[in-house]
Each structure stands twice: as C-alpha cells, then as structure tokens.
C-alpha cells in the first residue's frame, strides 16, 4: 500500500507545550527535528498498544505516515544537568572486573547536557495501513498501555490527541482535517487574510517515489540493538479548512495568496 491509495486513516493531533523528535542525537546533545519522526510516531503507537521494547515492529514500520505542520512552533534549548540524587559521584564508562560501573575519578558530580524541544507546536499526523491494524491502533490510543509522550517522556500530549478514523488517501485525510491551531491564532490569521476558508499548510508524506530521504524508520527499539532504516518522502502544501467564513467585501490579499513566511508561523 502506498500513500496514494485510499484506506483507513488514523488522525493524531500532536500538541502540547513541548515536543521533541530526535532522529540521530545521542549522549549530551539531544536535538529535535522540526517535525515528528516516523520512529517517534511508531514508538507512540507501540507504547499505546503495550508492546515491550523488544517487540517486533514490522507491521508498524510498514504503516504509511503523513505529517502536516499546523503550527511549527519554535526551538527551545534546555540546559539540563544530571547528578545522582543521593549526592554520589557519577559513574564512569569504565567497569570493574565484575562488570560494575566504577565511579568517576576524580569524582564528577554534575554532568551537563543540552536538550532541544519544539515549543508551542501543533502537528497533524496521519497513519494508514491494513484495516485491522489501524482500527486496533485507534482503540489502543484511546486506552494506552503506557503513558504516551510527544517524543520524550516529559512531553505529555495535550488532549484531544486521537481525532479518529477517516477513509481515503493520506493526502486527502490531511487536507480535509480542520486547521489545528488555537482559536485565537485562527482569528488573528483570519483578520489578516480576509477570513479565507482555506490555508496552505506544509506536509511531509511517505511516498516511495518521493525525492527526499529520511533515516528514521525503526527496525528495533530493543536497547541492545536499536536500528533504523530509510524511507522516501515527498513534501507538499495542503489546503486545509480554517473554519472561517470568508468576507466577500474584503479586498484580495496583496501577495495573491502566496505567503513565503507561512512556514515560520508568522
């Protein structure tokens, strides 16, 4: 199945004060992509379905994903220190003959890391695949086995997250879902755009013929052998309903509808 064929589509609204979607960072500098990764979404679905880390992910990795950027948010750098809460020195990378970690020498008590988050962002994720699997995931997201998170455990999602099932192609489902921005933001945008009933929102869709490659498809989440593979994606602008009623008396906008800053959320 490709993203161009119609099928059941599960729509998720990914919103909350903070989100973080890392795709390659490890250790001290934990970065985030500007939009949710496939591994992040699959991790979320797997957590909802109660799959342990060692579980097989083939069926989930086979799902097609589309992400619409409803509000890009902005980057937040979080200065984060790590220390043992009992006041002990941090463990070092070296181990004793018995395989136990040695303490750092000279004793190091504070370790500094940088964690990046997207703040104030809203995404719409659409997932499509075999009907029984998508239906099961729809139920699992309403009754998750583990608490869900937007890329990192401290990033709890705001509700509602699961917008339910649609039928159609990924692109149709993403195009027809209303713009997921706060009421106030939509109103302000409407004032500047003659209350247009549609807004162009950027989207990234799984597509084997796509021109761009992402290295974020999980093969396994098992701690000992985490592995990822690639997928092809294409980018598009989708014209989504704003829920506003156009003002026929308002003059057409000066830029003819083209807004190069739309992607920045201005």
């Amino acid at each position: 199945m490709t993203s161009r064929e119609p099928g059941p589509v599960l729509l998720l609204r990914l919103a909350g004060p903070l989100q973080s979607w890392g795709d390659r960072s490890a250790y001290n500098r934990r970065e985030t992509r500007p939009e949710p990764t496939k591994s992040g979404i699959i991790g979320l679905l797997a957590a909802a379905a109660g799959r342990p880390r060692q579980a097989n992910l083939d069926d989930l990795a086979g799902l097609d994903l589309g992400i619409r950027i409803d509000r890009p948010g902005s980057l937040l750098r979080d200065y984060h220190t790590v220390s043992d809460y009992r006041g002990r020195p941090l463990p070092s990378a070296a181990v004793t003959a018995k395989g136990r970690q040695k303490p750092t020498s000279p004793a190091k008590h504070t370790h500094i890391t940088q964690r990046y988050y997207l703040q104030d962002a809203v995404f719409l994720a659409a997932v499509t695949g075999p009907e029984p699997l998508v239906t099961a995931l729809d139920h699992a997201l309403r009754h998750p086995a583990f608490p869900l998170a937007l890329g990192r455990r401290s990033c709890t999602p705001a509700q509602p997250m699961n917008l339910g099932l649609r039928t159609g192609t990924l692109e149709e489902a993403l195009r027809e879902a209303p713009w997921q921005a706060p009421r106030r933001i939509i109103k302000r945008w409407g004032r500047e755009h003659g209350n247009a009933d549609r807004i162009d929102l950027p989207a990234t869709l799984d597509d084997p013929t796509g021109e761009d490659v992402r290295d974020d498809v999980p093969v396994s989440f098992a701690p000992k052998n985490r592995a990822y593979t690639t997928r092809h994606v294409r980018h598009a602008y989708l014209s989504a309903p704003t829920g506003l009623i156009p003002d026929p008396t308002a003059p057409p906008t000066a830029n003819g509808g083209h807004d190069p800053f739309a992607l920045l959320g201005w």
Binding site: A15, G16, P17, L18, G73, S74, L76, D78, Y79, H80, Y85, R86, V95, K98, G99, R100, Q101, Y117, Q119, D120, L141, R142, H143, P144, A145, F146, P147, L148, A149, R153, S154, C155, T156, P157, A158, Q159, P160, P182, R183, R184, I185, A222, P223, K224
Partner: protein, 383 residues
Amino acid sequence: MAPHCFVDVHVVQTVPPANLNRDDQGNPKEAVYGGVRRSRVSSQAWKRATRLHFDAQAPEIERATRTKRILGQLTERIARNNGLETEPAARIATAVLGQLGLSQGKKAGDTAYLLFYGQAQLDAIAALVTGRAAELAALDDKGLAEAATELPVTAALQAGHPMGVALFGRMVADIPALNVDASVQVAHALSTHETQLEFDYFTAVDDENEKEETGAGHIDSIGFNSATLYRYATVGLDQLTANLGGDNDAAFDALDRFVDSFARSAPTGYQNAFAHRTRPSLVAVVVRTDQPVNLVSAFEEPVPAESGIQAASARRLAEEHTTAVRMWGDEPLHTAITHTFTTGDPRTKDTAEALTQAFGTPVAFPELLSGLRARLTQARETA
C-alpha cells in the same frame, strides 16, 4: 482487554518571585505556549525534588534491602514456607541462587558484594520452590543443580523492584536486563499566564568599609519571575504493580507516597534568597481507566492578570476537566480534590463551586490520599 489504570495528579501552585530552575545564563527556565512566554520548571527538576522528599519520608529499607546475606535470607524463607530444617533448605537455596553466578564472599554463604533487592523479589524466588521443596531436597547435588537451573530466578529479580525504582525507573546502560521502565510520567511545570523575566540588581556592601571608601563590594543581578504553575504527573498503575512484582499493596503504598511527595516537594534553587516554599492551592487526583489526560490545554490561552490568576487558573482547570468529560463521555473512575478556595469568600465562591462540580467536594489532603487508596482497593477487589 483488561482496562488500564492511570492516576492523574493535577496541581495548581503559586510561587512568589523565585528562580526554582535556572538555565546556563542563571535565569529561570521559560517556554512559549499559546504564543506567549511562560515560566517553566523542567520535569527533571521537580522529579528530583519529589525523589528527595520521597526518600526522606521513608527509607527504602522497608521493602528493600542491601545485603551480602541473600543466601541466609532465602534459606530462612524456604525453611519457613515448607517446614524444612535449615540444612536441606540451605542446599536448595544454594542451588537456586547458583544460576545467577554471584561471586562468593570471604565468609561462607556471603556474596562478594552488597546486593540490592526488594523483599517481594526474594519472596517470589522462595515461592518458586514452594510445594516442590521435599522433592528437591531428596535429589543429589547434581540433580538438584540441574532442577534449579530450570527455575526463572533471574526473571524474579527483574520484576518486583523497590518502590523508588518501580516509580522512577532505572537505567543501567551496560546491563539492559536490569533496566526498569518508570511508571511515573511528569510534565514540565508551566505558568498558566504570561510571564516576563525580571532582574534583581543588587549590591553587597563591605561591612568593614572605611568611612572614606564608598561603593559596593559586590554587584550582580539575579533573574527571577513569579508564577502560578500548572503541574501534572501521571502514574501508570499497571506498570507500577508489575514493577513491584504484582504486589497490589506495595503499589498502593508507592502511589500514596508519590502523590504526597509530588504535592509537597519543590525544587530548592535560590531557596535562601527567595524563600519561595509554598504549598499547592489545589491538588486534584483523577483515576482513569482509559488514558491519562493532561489538562494543560486549559491554559493555552494565557490567564489574564486582571482576573486574579490563582482563582482563574483553578476555574479554568475545572472547566477544562468538565468539558473534556462531557465531550468524550468518559466518566473517570474516581476524582478527588484538595484546595484552598472557599465558598465563604465572595471572590472565590465561583471558583470553589466550579471545582466542586468538576472534582467533587473538597477534602483535606490526608483524606484525599486515603480516599484514593480505598477506591483503588475496591476497584481491584471487584475486578
């Protein structure tokens, strides 16, 4: 499918000018939400404060132990459970622990290092041979060792962890088998309203200054802000129970103490300069069998300062909860609330009524905890 059980904890807490959790510039952490700047306290910072409070309240020793004498402890349990003499019980215990490959200590029967395990974990290991003890004791050494290798001893040690580990998780990079997934999820605390970063410019004067010498001995500034914070945490009760080896009572104990510590603790950053220690003006617990629900969306539109931020924030929280329950048609299993808004005061009357409508009649905090436990116990018994 068995329903999952999540305990959501919502807290509204006002802090005066303070700098609870600072970034590398020394300023309070912030985040943008709903298009405006907010004061933020990272989840890690508040979780650390919670853990310190948690550990200070009751030491792990209650349900966990750190000892070299695991063999003696296990022997005692096997002897007691099966009415055996110490000598055959010790033989079985030695065989059972044999498969772990623990290094021997100097004294006979001791391990080379202190092992940290929960009492429930050792009970689980002892239970593996209950009913088979006489049969095992009759085997010769070789047969006994072979029979013992088939027992899931490692699995028993990988479940049923001490409370702190069961709640907050553990990560051992080198030995993933010892990793424990946390059952607690804590969100970053965020102000319900817009905040601006402010600076306290200060000078310190040298008390022993000569008369002719003017000027300061030290000049600096501290960034600060004051905020009414919305704090949220959720506990996955199933994961917590599983981490504690299926012991419901231990899980309720751990939950009880977590809610208590989460409500009462606060990060201590710049504590002596600001004395910011406040208590929450509202603590609500919501037990849900479908999914955890974070009510932060109540504050996406920032609370305006004119309306009295603390009461308005509480009202918003109540409205969000009521609306969400009505919209999704999912009645929580249990709700309870402790708050400081009274119906007697005309300024908080609306707030108190809205809270009662959403979360029920307010109770004192100890009653909130005991009520939570009673409801969960009842739910487990009827399940």
